[in-house]
Amino acid sequence: MDTVRLALLAGLGVLALAGGVLVFTCDSMARVTFALLGSLCCVGGVVTVLGLPYLGVAIVLMMVMEMVIMAVFMIAYMMNPAGLMPMSMLHNKRGSLLVSGAVFAALVAAVLLTPWPARTGPPPPDTTFQLGKALMGTQMLTMLVLGFALLATMVGATVLATHRGRYDRFGDDLGRRQARDPAGGGVGR
């Protein structure tokens, strides 16, 4: 790997980590969203520098769209979207720090102590062609499963996010009154 790529890798790596830290330290929800966007765009950049430009650009484009949607949800649901007052919405901070620190230490130890093998074969001349050929050939089943997972997600997310509509009353008579549900949250809300 040449010097320019190494420098790019180092810069993007540091920025990705800094963005990740900012996500959980900023008060403003807008800043949090853009810190996560920056961090995940740097992840896309790292993937590109490692020789996978198609996947890297796809990750960056997907993250931009995701974070724009997330910004809307953050402002809609969070109680302090502009971060005008400092606030903390944490629970069990010490335990979480302990667990995540232990996981980081274990992962770094595994990375440094494992005798990694040498690379098997040179990288292909066109990585996008390699991925497309695999998805349309030997990995077709994976592609189908991923496609069905996305379809199920679309249906499931729509059902969860919409009002119950015709399903909030018993039977098929749309003129019937809604059920009285003593528990709330179920049929009849």
């Binding site: 890798l9 959980f24 990750i59 649901y77 990288p123 990585t127 390699q130 996010a161 709330g184």
Partner: protein, 100 residues
Amino acid sequence: MTFELVLVLAAGLFSIGLFGALSQQSIVMIMMGIELMIGGIIVAAAAFWHFLAPAADGQVVIVGAVVAMAVEMAMGFAVTTAIYRARQVDMTDMAEDLKG
């Protein structure tokens, strides 16, 4: 040594995300933590592809991780919307009915 450093970067992203997923009360912030964790997995998969085995299967792992990210995001927002609509709840501590 570059390979190990990229894997340490992946471990760092994963651990920061894990801290967020464990410590945050807001459902949206927990989703952000999970996104960072999957980001770490993507970096590690790309490093394995580049430094160890530049075969097509490694790229498919990254595609799977990206799809997992999209599914997590969509279902997370849908669940947040459903629970907020039903009970005006957007924090995990207010939705602990099944806690033993």
